[in-house]
């Protein structure tokens, strides 16, 4: 077994990046602005500030500043769980019999279990700095809520999480982690908001939805003095914070003179994918280097591969701003795929523009083949991956197997966003042969596209 490159490359603490990279600064075509659905005009800092922290609004709207300094307090917190390891998957390569060299950047070694903490701590920091009392958010699968609870606990901020009711009931352990970190977790829809009360009056037996939880969290933020709303994906600010992933991965590879041929990440709202690939795409945009970049999405929710590039609402409730993105339509309801973090109808506007401009490829994969890859990976590499992350594993394995056929020694880097310790119900389905997948028909998508907002 080759031994020059260690199994795990850890940067030294003083090699952790101290700035986030804003890929928008290098984009010739900037991502389209968020629009106010009432006016159809781009949202201003002033319009955003009642909902989001001021500093985060600036980051959201800034298409020009290339590097943002990471505040020292955030750098200190990062040191609790970063640098995350860049792992050479020697055992997976051996199991596949491939000449490809496979690396993964592993973001699961923290209690939130995923990369979400990278942005949660940043958002909590800016809220604290602004003198706020607390923040509100929604959570589905629970990774974002957990990350935010940890971050708020660290800065002594109140944290109010609206958790989709069926998750609240099916994932009591996720809920309990949040509570241990001092968060108030409310099953959504709830009686604590107008929108929640309205929905419960109309649908007393509903088990909730992410769209509804978002609406409740936003209402809770704007109706309490000293609160703001925070979001774990999709937004430009979130992608900015998540570039710590790609910057670290690149620094670790550079240290050993490794250049990936292919960079692969799973795509839901785009926070992990954008964070991982931004520094690589930046080099493409600047003409310094070339990489193949592949976004992997579930076949049950194929925003990139089957969506339309159009302005659409970010939420089912149609109260959030309009974003120009690859979308399946805000009224599209994906089937109950176990990768809850990838069940979003739209996509980051940055990534949408990059994809539209041919800087990325995309691939949709089915759930069962994803879990086959997850299980193979777990058995040889030791890490039990999250269903979301396993989408990237699937395509990394597929690409490595192509190398086996062609004999090419390609270098593959993929993002392993998190662990599957709270997803064992999904593994049980797979282990007992009860897993299936529902891929939307063309007519279902056409029907959904027909409901896209009509733009002037």
């Amino acid at each position: 077994m080759e031994n020059k490159i260690p199994y795990k490359i850890y940067l030294n603490e003083d090699e952790i990046p101290t700035q986030w990279y804003n890929v928008r600064a290098d984009m010739a075509t900037k991502p389209a602005p968020l629009l106010n659905p009432a006016t159809g005009l781009p949202l201003t800092q002033q319009e955003l500030e009642p909902i989001f922290c001021s500093e985060l609004c600036k980051q959201e709207l800034d298409n020009d500043t290339k590097w943002f300094d990471i505040p020292e307090e955030i750098q200190d917190f990062y040191k609790l769980y970063r640098p995350s390891p860049l792992v050479r998957a020697y055992f997976l390569e051996k199991a596949l019999g491939t000449p490809a060299k496979i690396y993964y950047k592993f973001e699961g070694n923290n209690t939130s279990g995923s990369h979400k903490l990278n942005s949660a701590i940043a958002q909590a920091y800016y809220a604290k700095k602004q003198g706020l009392k607390g923040v509100t958010t929604e959570t589905g699968a629970g990774q974002w809520g957990t990350a935010l609870s940890m971050a708020c606990s660290f800065f002594g901020l109140d944290c109010q999480v609206y958790m989709v009711k069926c998750s609240y009931e099916q994932k009591p352990f996720r809920r309990e982690v949040m509570r241990t970190y001092g968060a108030q977790v409310t099953p959504s829809p709830s009686l604590t908001t107008n929108v929640g009360r309205k929905i419960l009056a109309e649908h007393p037996d509903t088990t909730g939805s992410l769209g509804c939880a978002i609406s409740e969290a936003v209402e809770a933020a704007v109706s309490q003095e000293g609160y703001r709303y925070v979001l774990g994906s999709v937004l430009n600010q979130v992608l900015l914070h998540q570039t710590i992933i790609g910057l670290e991965a690149k620094a670790a590879m550079d240290k050993y003179g490794i250049k990936p041929d292919i960079v692969i990440g799973c795509a839901g709202g785009g926070s992990n994918l954008g964070g991982l690939v931004s520094p690589f795409i930046g080099e493409k945009l600047r003409g310094e280097n070339d990489y193949r970049v592949i976004a992997v999405e579930p076949a049950s929710c194929p925003s990139f591969t089957r969506g339309k590039f159009a302005y659409d609402f970010c939420d089912t409730g149609m109260i959030c701003p309009l974003a120009k993105m690859y979308t399946l339509g805000s009224q599209f309801i994906p089937s109950a795929n176990h990768a809850g973090g990838l069940r979003f109808h739209g996509m980051s506007t940055i990534l949408s523009q990059l994809y539209h401009d041919g800087l990325m490829e995309a691939r949709a994969v089915e759930q069962t083949e994803v879990f086959e890859a997850a299980t193979q990976f777990a058995r040889v590499e030791g890490v039990l991956p999250a269903p979301e992350s396993s989408h990237a594993i699937r395509v990394a394995i597929d690409e490595a197997l192509k190398c086996k056929e062609t004999g090419e020694e390609k270098t593959i880097l993929f993002g392993l966003t998190g662990t599957g310790y709270f997803d064992l119900y999904a593994y049980e389905k797979f282990n007992t042969g009860k897993m299936s997948d529902v891929i939307p028909s063309d007519s279902v998508l056409e029907e959904s596209f027909a409901k896209l907002p009509k733009m002037k």
Copy 2:
């Protein structure tokens, strides 16, 4: 904030120890031998071999060889999750306002969630090398079973786990991780063994016990061609493998010129504690250095602090060998403490002898104060600790607070054996104020001591 020592010290891959340390070689008084309950005579290699792998029997009986080479295949596997970080708990120090310097060796960054994998991979390796088909074991809380499943999957060995029925039902996720790694998990008592059938016939509604699961696993091992039984704690061989923890911790500290004043570990069967403290106690035994070493146990199962140093059965079923150890009596049933890994009536014979000879202290702590420490730690250090590990956190905090009173700048090292992701039911009890503890009365212990085997 002091910054010379990084938050996390990772050894380089080539600095990971390549030998295990056998503290018995440095002990003036060796641990008493295991006795055959039928003959009252020390067990021989020949008597052990039908149950345990040959190489492991040798390690079990060898009181003289000071260093055992770690086979290359095991070293390779270690690199999947080792070196584990030695963390400087800067944020905990700050929260406590203590002049003490607190370090913890964190063994939770692997899918089994604990240090158990260090020995599981060694035991699986020797089984494979001996040409066996598989191994059997029991598991209660599930950490050991998970670790063994991962290790067996890696070497392509069959893995049969007897899981205490109430855990099997209450911890379906633990069961599912094992199944994902290809293990056969059977709720115990089961109809697959004579002893299981007998118990079920007598007690059809029993929810099982660790003692019963051990009996089933041993029967399954000896009644199948090509199988042996493996155990995750208590045994000398297990402590030997676990010295990788202490050796790494010591190497990391030496690298930065740090010398701990106090070394703290939680104590159940002794695998983590023995692994962490052996290299430090070795220096004490050789007169090279002095350290305070503190074993922490639950007040509900206080083997060291209230037990007798006597020969006793290792299992409730009284079929296993007799070991001379600190014991509460094999018939003692500890209350339903949430630190399942610490609910063992006895203790490693090595640690028992060291404690008897005054080389270690011991302290018993109550469950609620343990969870208070766990929650405080989680909120400032980010890691959600296992209930077992939190016993060590409790005493580390107590010692740090003493330093605050006296102004002493002591250096404290403790073992953080694992994460609490599968223990959230316990956290829920604590978070909702429903946690209590049952400390055995003197008369209960006297009654149990009266049943200790009469030795000639």
